[in-house]
């Protein structure tokens, strides 16, 4: 039995576990692949902290910028807390060896960290490590976890929380290598499993498997979710593969053209506005392109080498001479597990949540660039320090294998012969439905229709058996369970979007195009609103 069980090994999970271990707790991290496979690696731009290394800055200004971007949906106290903690988090990262980019002749170690400008910030505030900020932070945290001897349990897929009388006793997992269901008991559990923007299959910059596993476990166990409808779309992903073309392409002077060779939007406007403008062109049957040809080969190779390689690989085009076909795709989920000011999961005692899977209410309706890495580290640490306080009053827990038995029987049932359905076709359908009817532009009719279609797919899946009956490393089984979770999240997203009868930040309803003061609050849902029965 552990003091603290951390589910997920991205920036939030690792920083939770490190905080716990540094304070003497018995902690384990459980992850569905390997720790450094997490999506945190994909964050390129930087991590915000008001260090003022380039230009005068203050935590007050950082707080103001964040609140402004959130479109009145954030918890101002939590934003203030996050921005206040930011310099301390950077100092911690500096002390464990994160290889930040540097400026010369600085008076102190922290002052030597280079900072860059990102959209929506008043000053250059994002500390970065070349174009690999997330990768380098994550790997340094991983190295620190190894140093501390934190136990890491690889390749275990989260099934359910073990809950008795609304108290969390740990969680059940599928051991992917053997298909065994296992219980791991702990005095407290931290859900740090990442976001759900991957449910827009084929229309998402996210990794495979970013489908909200932790969110669904919370819903199943009697917790709540909030603001699931708030998903940020990135304006420029490659048209065929949905691979992200970094904002820096526009920052360096790239512009957008439609198939009539016209510019149609100020490319440097906030992500949601540019994404909507592009989507409107696509709906008008016009293709949209990013044009960076005028920058010249030498400059492109120097400034955007990764982007050029990605275009050649995925679209077979050379951006030095050709236009880059693009589309806006789902990128980041603002909503998630409903938590209180101490990252406690509302409705489940002893359960905490942090990172993209939680709704820490700091991004509101539109996340500011550079705040996602910050959020996962600040609130990952916070969740852990709150869990440490909580476990002081827990002397022991009594194992309860009811959940394990139930999950085992469910997994066994999937191996029984039923309808044969190929989940990969269903995944594509799900992405298509979400993108066209619950994506950048939404309206009541489309959302209702989308919900009907998704409920039908969920039904189909309930009667389906696996197309792979192996008990050894069954990838199909894991992806089947992920699809089920994706559908639950999709349903919550759509219902949130139906309830939010207004347009705010990333959520745009063509039938309610204005912000409405009556919706200046979170939309909360729980099990009874979900597909889980």
């Amino acid at each position: 039995m552990y003091d603290i069980l951390v589910v997920g090994s991205g920036g939030a999970g690792l920083s939770s576990a490190i905080e716990a271990k540094e304070n003497g707790a018995k902690v384990a991290i459980v992850c569905k692949h390997y720790p450094t496979n997490s999506q945190t690696t994909m964050a390129q731009g930087g991590i915000n902290a008001a260090l003022g290394n380039i230009k005068d800055d203050s935590t007050t200004l950082h707080t103001q910028d964040t609140i402004k971007s959130a479109h009145s949906l954030c918890d101002e106290n939590k934003v203030e807390y996050m921005c206040d903690m930011a310099p301390r988090i950077i100092e911690k990262l500096e002390n464990i060896g994160v290889p930040f980019s540097r400026i010369d002749n600085a008076p102190t170690p922290l002052k030597s960290i280079a900072q860059r400008f990102m959209g929506g910030a008043s000053v250059p505030r994002a500390c970065y490590a070349q174009d690999y900020t997330g990768l380098k932070i994550l790997h340094t945290l991983y190295d620190r976890a190894l140093q501390l001897g934190i136990e890491i349990i690889d390749e275990h897929y989260l099934l359910n929380l073990i809950v008795e009388d609304s108290i969390c006793l740990g969680a059940t997992f599928l051991d992917i290598a053997t298909t065994q269901v296992k219980s791991i008991y702990a005095k407290s559990t931290i859900i740090a499993t990442g976001g759900y923007a991957g449910i827009y299959e084929g229309y998402s910059t996210n990794a495979y498997g970013a489908v909200g596993d932790g969110i669904v476990s919370v819903i199943n166990a009697g917790g709540s979710v909030s603001d699931m409808e708030l998903v940020q779309f990135h304006p420029t992903a490659l048209a065929n593969s949905s691979i992200l073309v970094s904002e820096s392409a526009r920052g360096e002077g790239g512009y957008l053209l439609n198939s009539d060779n016209e510019r149609f939007v100020d490319e440097l406007k906030p992500r949601d506005e540019v994404a909507r403008a592009i989507y409107a062109q696509l709906q008008n049957n016009k293709s949209v392109y990013l044009d960076i040809r005028h920058l010249g080969e030498q400059k492109l190779q120097e400034l955007l080498p990764q982007e050029i390689a990605l275009c050649k690989l995925h679209e077979d085009i050379d951006p030095v001479n050709e236009l880059i076909p693009i589309k806006p795709v789902a990128h980041y989920s603002m909503g998630g597990v409903e938590v209180d000011e101490a990252q406690r999961v509302v409705g489940i005692q002893g359960c905490f949540s942090a990172g993209e899977c939680s709704n820490s209410k700091v991004h509101g309706a539109n996340r500011l660039g550079g705040n996602s890495l910050l959020e996962i580290l600040v609130f990952g640490t916070k969740a852990s320090s709150e869990a440490l306080k909580y476990i002081k009053n827990i002397s022991d827990i009594k194992p309860n294998d009811t959940q394990e038995k139930q999950d085992k029987s469910y997994i066994d049932s999937l191996f029984e012969p039923k309808d044969s359905i190929n989940i990969y076709a269903l995944k594509k359908q799900l992405g298509e439905i979400l993108y066209t009817q619950a994506g950048i532009l939404r309206d009541e009719d489309g959302l209702q229709e989308a919900h009907n279609k998704i409920s039908a797919i969920y039904q189909q899946l309930s009667n389906a058996s696996l197309q792979d009956n192996s008990k050894v490393h069954n990838q199909y089984l894991v992806e089947f369970l992920e699809l089920k979770n994706a559908l639950v999240c999709a349903s919550l997203l759509i219902q949130g979007a139906i309830k939010r009868q207004e347009s705010r930040g990333a959520h745009y309803r063509s039938d309610y195009p204005q912000e409405a003061s009556s919706f200046q609050h979170s939309i909360i849902q729980n099990k009874k609103d979900s597909l889980c029965k």
Partner: protein
Amino acid sequence: MQIKIQRDTKCESFKIENAITLLSALYEIKQTQDATLTFASGCKSGICGACSVRVNGKEQLACAYKVQDNDLIEPLNYHQRQRDLKVDKTKPHQKLKKAASYLHSYIPSTLTHQDELSLHIQSDCILCDSCYSACPVMAVNEEFLGPFALTRAYRYAKDKREDDAKSIIDAVVTNGIWDCTLCGECSAVCPKGIDSKMDITNLRSLAVQHGHMDPNFATASFGTPDFSGGFGFDPNGGF
């Protein structure tokens, strides 16, 4: 286009119609031909390190490799195969701990842009294990720490914030820096352009500075000494 995949018991051919990258080809097979094909996947954009395999004998990230007609796809070497192209990375990654590749004792140090550049390439490592799979030393010594662990050890050992580089050096002298043959296979396959061979060479220099001696040098035969303990030329001796 046809590709061949070395599965658990046999090599099978599959037809690919739409996919551009190898990773999308593997999913195309899973959707249209054989749902049991097993492989690892992640970010699709070459940064999470999950999907490395061997293509025609050379390590590649499946998501960053453009699939070609007649390609032969195999799992990584020197990893326990779990199923088809999926391998267990636990044991290779445990070597990071053995190599003590982390910051042992922080000493405040104000770094410069030049310092950043000296750490920049080594810290691009995505732990895809390509270098480990390409390393021929693994075939003869499975306890060899391998290229990525040594590159990461070097990255911390030369960080100016490290006040205890000796602990790192001490951890990489056994089954580590002296066992490498400097063949450069690791550097040739790294998707991020990391030159582990050079990092290992540099670690050797650091080790000497910390009082270690190249055991190959100490045990090498330089012929019969003509003076007491000297290295004089002996035409009858040999290396």
